[in-house]
């Protein structure tokens, strides 16, 4: 599995302050490795008493604007805790530079040996993450496939609403594009046929 994940999120077009929230720093320990970790959570520990193996300390007050919603994501061969980390990494990228991005603009990022290619499409953002043979250019293929399929299903650059309305169909398309962490179909016509259970090679 060399394609790590793909994620579709809402796009934060108008940053808007909703509620100032306290950020809490915590220290926690990995039970297996014994390693300590420091993290940030923006939930008041009062609301979740004693649920974490963590020691809390309030350090920072952050303005939380969190309108970005994860609409769809698939991870391949990643442990659950790393999935969350990847998700927050991706959302941070969105915050940085997708606000003014054009629809056909593709962005690239990397973390160690892992590549991220992402783009905005209407109201949603699509991220693809991969490594080894799925380098940035192969991810472009994946990304193009996914955005093409979304556009195809939604008939235009989707709003979040439209995306959600076509959720089932989009899931079927993505199921054809990426199978078990590998790119499968890229051709729109083939995807269309396969999601409708039509013969592939008919004229």
């Amino acid at each position: 599995m060399k394609l790590v994940c793909y994620t579709v999120t809402g796009r934060d077009l108008e940053p808007r302050v909703t509620v100032p929230q306290l950020s809490f720093y915590y220290r926690e320990r990995d039970k297996d490795t014994g390693k300590g970790r420091v993290g940030v959570e923006s939930v008041d520990p009062q609301e979740r008493p004693g649920k974490f193996v963590r020691s809390w300390s309030i350090i920072d007050r952050k303005i939380c604007r969190d309108r970005c919603s994860v609409l769809l994501e698939r991870y391949h061969g990643l442990p659950p805790d790393e999935r969350l980390q990847w998700r927050s990494f991706l959302l941070k990228l969105t915050a940085d530079n997708l606000k003014t991005a054009r629809d056909d603009e593709q962005f690239v990022a990397s973390h160690k040996a892992v590549f991220v290619v992402y783009a905005a499409l209407g109201d949603v953002c699509v991220f693809t993450v991969g490594k080894d043979e799925y380098d940035e250019l192969a991810l472009v293929e994946v990304l193009t496939g996914i955005t093409g399929a979304i556009k195809d299903v939604c008939k235009r650059a989707p709003s979040e609403r439209l995306f959600l309305d076509k959720y089932g169909k989009i899931c079927l398309c993505l199921d054809e594009i990426v199978v078990q962490g590998r790119l499968e179909q890229t051709d729109k016509e083939r995807i269309r046929k396969l999601t409708r259970l039509k013969p592939l090679a008919e004229a």
Partner: protein, 1185 residues
């Protein structure tokens, strides 16, 4: 991110405005609005709620479920309602309406949930059998595949989303009784297998879908695997000869595809695709045969899968694969055809396959075959897709999976710059669409991918050209691309080029002359005629020097110019890649100024995330490893990072770079290397907090100030540890007699003498002295430690110089003791003294002891000389014991080689050797050798002992080694061995991982620069040092107390831990708290000798190593529970209410890992239906045994 993490279905954190994704989808399915914000569900405020409250189970009271068509549903459906609806509709007599409703209402919404419950399988299978709507059936396959995929990885969702329990499903769902995954999987598999065997042409799309779903079957048994292989091979058997699509004229003259051949080709594709997802079976000739056959498949994706499998098989058995492929490619030209199929990844795998086969040694006897594959590889350089072209370049450079050796990379570079391309005569090859296309087209003027005109005339012959020229053209054109991924990819290829080039330099002897002119026009034409249809590689004649020709170096410099321009890209990741590429392409003899100015400019940009900067520092590591001669240059570059962005880089990684470069830069570079480190000490100190309002924003950032301070501490420690090595000045090699230093107490003379003898060490000393006076208390503390290390390891006059300096420091502290005590936190900024007196006093005490003992020895020797007496055994014993005691003392402060170090001065060696010889004491183990301690060594017969000793020789280092002056090699070795232990810091792991091309783990939860300080797992230096010191003091007490009772009283300063700095590290806390690895390794080396045979200091015998380790592995958080698990029973059912909670049913056996705040973290024996294995449950729900 918790607000995003905990939503239901796991498909993300709800929708906007705290509405879950499910709510949104269900909100208004019939009349969607294009503008979500204007048609928000009523009653939803903007205020964000914790996600738990937004879960359907809590927000909604379950609405009554009606299964009527056309019913508009405003309220979201819960999972259980969906499940019930599915089951009702599947059994509905009105199938047509039911299918419609399934398509609109059920299936799209079910897709939101992270896992598909096994209880849904019976209705799905029912639908699979009955439904006639293709869309419905497609959904059925989708969900069946998901059920299979989830059963593949129990305990976590495999290819899915962030796992969250379907709490509402579990709470209310009881549609089909207790159905488990184990029950349904065989049912699904049987159904799919039957479907896959269906030969009805009308059902073939379903067959394709069934084959795809089958590839999700968890292959747990050999039997299942065999079954799957059988199905796939059976299909391939029937369709393998499908070959090309047959086309026929349609009714209106349109071309149509022959239906039967189309069916066969898509079946072949489906089978190949399934085969690819099954494990490779290299021992099965049928596997290879079918895969190779697949290359001729009419379906482009099928070809891709076939090529992928063949290229994965090729490294294992290149000869067989090459033979199989050659048969196919030579006869029908299938490989050539792949060049023209649309699928990019297929061509990528082709490039890989061709490289593996063309470079396989097993094929040396078939040069024509090799050159055939190489030709195809070269043709791929002209591919319109950058991905394929870059893959081909990478392959030529010798990089396939990143694990290639230097030799291969070097060969790749040599090949790149010497090869000449002679393209085959282009023969028109019909492509898949039936239109003739040219085999290879010449690159356009701009190096753009060839645009092949449809109606080409007679192909014109191409002139042979150097390979590198083509590569450079492609890269330069890619670097002008506007797409960021292409830029990133191109720059990465340049980076790979740099790596291969560095490898070529490292290997050497390849006779690469980059200044040789690479031009095509002068190469002999004879070869072209002979090898008309093949590319040929021949070495470049280096004698060509006619004007107007391009040399490799000129081409490289123009490429690098293009790379440099790319640094203007607004994407910081591309810029990082550019800098890495430039670091790799830097030649040892080139000027580094330009790169430095680029890096300096980049570092001024605050947008750079810390992780990227650290990546570049790691690249410096990698570059050093490839070309150690560049140590000084690399240090020069690393200096920029240390000075410009001290707050963002990992000081551990930087330290490791200093260390490796110091080791690698050779005797003449050591001074420069040390200078690169000491420059850190000249950085302006972080301003005190009170002044922050008046200084620039960047420097007032407390985190970066803290990071800078840590970096300075690291530099000071580094200086202390390594100055002696860098200056090649060791006490045990010093020629100055020990007393000489004492004669130079005039400080001016001393400094002058020190300077003249060893400017490197003198320079380091001066810097350290400055640090001990200025800077924060933490830095001063480290500086004092460093000075002590220097004092112990250096000969005169450095030792006495430091001794003198420390006296001054201690006095300064003593005068202000009262005010220090009043401050009592030990952290005053030093205005009223250095705050170090109590730290220094034990150091001074040890130095005092050293000097005293040296004096005493001189006196004793003199008196013996005067009296012309031999030394008696008792006197020698006393001397030896004194020597050992001092060694123990000294070892508490820093590492010294016990066999060589002579605390009593070089003159003592002779006497010590007499005693050692007499009692057969090994210089390494000293009196801690059990044989010596128990007196057994004395009982040995001298003759036997001689024999025994010679046998023991390999075990122990030679005792004579102490007498011999150490050769530089030995020094180096010992230093390395020592540092392997000292530097056992986390950075080592990071660097090794980087060098190994690893680094696939997820980024830190919060990897922004602001978190870099807080997120660093390593222990801060003040902790290391304070604790190291504490421990040394305690040990010191014990060891010196053991040897001479009266001396213990003199160490009055040692109780500083409980007294002056009680608030920071009380002894009890220090004893209980354990440290992370760095601290541990540091302490080991600070207080103990690193090797087993030299670790015989008294105190370490008292403390069992295992207990130390246990202590070390404990976490620093004391309130964390210990890891002992115990078992328990669930008393009641508990439904999880959040991500980290766990569903349990009454009576279930659980393993309780720990308790925290009224919750148990428990582990189930088997994962529940939601796939979760462990999580939190309330204490009261579990009875613990």
């Amino acid at each position: 991110m918790a607000t995003l993490g905990g939503s239901q279905g796991g498909s993300g954190g709800g929708g906007r405005e705290s509405v879950s994704l499910m709510d949104l989808i269900s909100a208004d399915p019939v009349a969607p609005s294009s503008d979500g914000s204007s048609k928000r569900p009523p009653g939803v405020s903007n205020i964000q709620l914790p996600t738990e409250t937004s879960s359907p189970a809590r927000v909604l009271s379950p609405p009554t479920v009606k299964t009527g068509l056309g019913q508009r549903r405003k309220k979201p459906l819960t999972y259980s309602q969906l499940a019930r609806l599915l089951s009702d509709l599947a059994g509905s007599p009105d199938l047509k309406n039911a299918q419609k409703q399934l398509l609109v209402q059920v299936f799209p919404k079910l897709a939101v949930y992270s896992s598909v419950d096994p209880s849904l399988v019976p209705p799905l299978l029912q639908l699979h059998e009955l439904a006639d709507d293709r869309h419905v059936v497609r959904y059925v396959y989708y969900y069946l595949a998901r059920v299979l995929a989830e059963s593949g990885a129990h305990g976590g969702t495999p290819a899915g989303v962030v796992p969250t329990p379907n709490w509402d499903a579990l709470a209310t769902l009881n549609v089909a009784g207790s159905v488990t995954r184990a029950d349904v999987v065989p049912q699904i598999v049987d159904r799919l297998i039957a479907e896959a065997a269906n030969t009805d042409p009308a059902a073939h799309p379903r067959r394709v879908a069934a084959l795809k779903a089958l590839s999700f079957v968890p292959v747990t048994t050999e039997e299942m695997l065999g079954k799957l292989y059988m199905i796939v091979f059976k299909i391939l058997d029937k369709v393998a000869d499908a070959g090309k699509l047959r086309r026929k004229k349609g009714i209106f003259g349109r071309q149509t595809v022959d239906k039967e051949s189309a069916t066969r080709s898509s079946l072949q594709y489906a089978a190949l695709s399934t085969l690819r997802r099954l494990p490779l079976d290299p021992d099965n000739p049928a596997f290879l045969h079918r895969a190779v056959q697949g290359i001729a498949c009419a379906d482009p994706v099928g070809v891709r899968h076939a090529l992928a499998m063949v290229s994965e098989l090729a490294p294992g058995d290149p000869f067989t694969v090459a033979m199989a492929v050659a048969k196919l490619s030579l006869a029908g030209g299938s490989l050539q055809e792949v060049l023209h199929i649309q699928d990019v990844l297929a061509r990528v795998y082709l490039a890989r396959l061709c490289y593996i086969l063309s470079s396989a040694e097993a094929l040396d006897e078939k040069p024509d075959l090799k050159s055939h594959f190489r030709t195809i590889l070269y043709q791929l350089l002209l591919d319109p897709s950058e991905r394929v072209c870059f893959e081909a370049i990478d392959c030529i450079l010798g990089k396939v999976d990143g694990s290639e050796g230097t030799e291969i990379r070097a060969r790749g570079w040599a090949h790149l710059i010497t090869a000449i391309l002679r393209f085959p005569e282009p023969a028109p090859v019909p492509n898949k669409d039936g239109t003739p296309k040219d085999g290879v087209a010449a690159p356009g003027k701009e190096g753009m991918p060839p645009k092949v005109p449809k109606d080409r005339q007679a192909p014109r012959p191409r002139r042979p050209q150097p390979l590198i020229k083509l590569v450079m053209r492609r890269l330069e054109s890619a670097l002008r691309h506007s797409s960021r991924p292409v830029l990133h990819g191109a720059v990465r290829v340049v980076q790979e080029m740099g790596k291969s080039r560095a490898a070529a330099y490292a290997v050497g002897g390849l006779g690469i002359d980059e200044d040789a002119h690479a031009d095509d026009s002068t190469t002999g034409d004879g070869d072209v005629e002979n090898e008309g249809s093949r590319s040929k590689v021949s070495p470049l004649p280096s004698s060509i020097s006619t004007g107007g020709k391009e040399s490799v170096s000129s081409m490289l410099s123009s490429l690098m110019e293009a790379v440099r321009i790319t640094v203007a890209c607004e994407c910081v990741y591309v810029r990082a890649a550019v800098i890495k590429a430039m670091i790799w392409m830097l030649a040892p003899y080139e000027s580094v100024d330009e790169l430095k100015s680029i890096i300096a400019g980049e570092l001024a940009d605050p947008a750079w995330p810390a992780s990227l900067l650290n990546d570049i520092v790691l690249t410096l590591h990698a570059r050093f490893k490839a070309t150690p001669e560049m140590a000084v240059i690399l240090l020069d570059i690393s200096r920029l990072f240390a000075t410009k962005v001290p707050g963002k880089i990992d000081s551990d990684v930087l330290q490791l770079l200093w260390k490796t470069c110091l080791l690698g830069c050779g005797p003449e570079g050591k001074h420069t290397a040390l200078e690169a480190v000491t420059v850190v000490l000249d950085l302006p100190p972080p301003p005190p907090a009170s002044l922050s309002g008046f200084t620039r924003t960047s420097t007032t950032d407390p985190k970066s100030a803290l990071a800078l301070q840590r970096l300075i501490q690291a530099a000071v420690w580094f200086l202390g540890e390594n100055a002696n090595y860098a200056a090649a000045e060791y006490a045990w090699e010093s020629n100055t007699p020990p007393g000489a230093g004492l004669l130079m107490l005039d400080s001016d003379k001393m400094v002058a003498a020190a300077n003249s003898r060893n400017p490197t060490l003198a320079g380091a000393l001066t810097r350290l002295q400055r640090c001990a006076f200025s800077g924060s208390w933490e830095v001063r503390l480290v500086a004092a430690q460093a000075l002590m290390t220097l004092a112990i390891r250096s000969g005169e006059p450095y030792r006495v110089q430091i001794y003198d300096f420390m006296h001054a420091l201690a006095k300064g502290g003593a005068q202000e003791r009262i005010s220090d005590l009043a401050a009592s936190n030990g952290e005053d900024q030093g205005a009223s003294g250095t705050g170090l007196s109590s730290v220094i006093s034990p150091m001074l005490r040890v130095l005092d002891e050293l000097y005293k003992s040296q004096d005493q020895l001189i006196k004793d020797m003199r008196s013996h000389d005067n009296r012309k007496e031999e030394w008696t055994d008792d006197e020698l014993k006393k001397l030896f014991e004194n020597h050992e005691r001092l060694l123990d003392l000294v070892s508490l402060f820093c590492f010294v080689p016990r066999s060589k170090y002579l605390p009593l001065g070089p003159t003592s060696l002779y006497l010590l050797n007499i005693y050692r010889k007499r009692h057969r004491i090994d210089a390494h183990t000293g009196s801690n050798d059990p044989a010596v301690a128990t007196g057994i060594s004395d009982l040995l017969d001298p003759t036997l002992a001689a024999g025994g000793l010679s046998e023991l020789q390999p075990l122990y280092a030679q005792p004579e080694a102490a007498a011999k002056p150490a050769t530089p090699d030995e020094d180096e070795k010992e230093y390395n061995e020592y540092h392997d232990i000292v530097w056992n810091i986390p950075a080592q792991e990071t660097v090794n991982e980087f060098l190994g091309g690893g680094g696939t783990e997820a980024p830190e939860a919060d990897s922004s620069d602001e978190e870099v300080v807080a997120a660093r797992p390593s222990v801060s230096y003040e902790e290391i040092f304070s604790k190291g010191l504490m421990e040394s003091e305690e040990e010191d007490d014990r060891s010196s107390g053991g040897s001479s009772p009266e001396s213990s009283g003199a160490f009055s300063g040692r109780n500083f831990g409980s007294n002056r700095y009680a608030s920071m590290f009380a002894p009890s806390a220090a004893a209980r708290t354990s440290w992370d690895k760095p601290a541990a390794s540091f302490r080991e080396t600070k207080t103990d000798s690193p090797t087993a045979e030299t670790s015989g200091v008294q105190w370490s015998q008292e403390e069992e190593p295992s207990s130390v380790n246990e202590e070390l592995t404990q976490n620093e958080d004391e309130d964390l529970p210990d890891s002992d698990t115990f078992s328990g029973n669930a008393l009641y059912d508990f439904v999880a209410g959040g991500d980290d909670e766990l569903n349990i049913t009454a009576g279930e056996e659980l393993e309780i890992e720990y308790e925290v705040g009224g919750w148990y973290f428990v582990k189930k024996k088997e994962a529940g239906p939601d796939g979760k294995l462990s999580g939190l449950v309330p204490v009261s729900y579990v009875s613990a045994f």
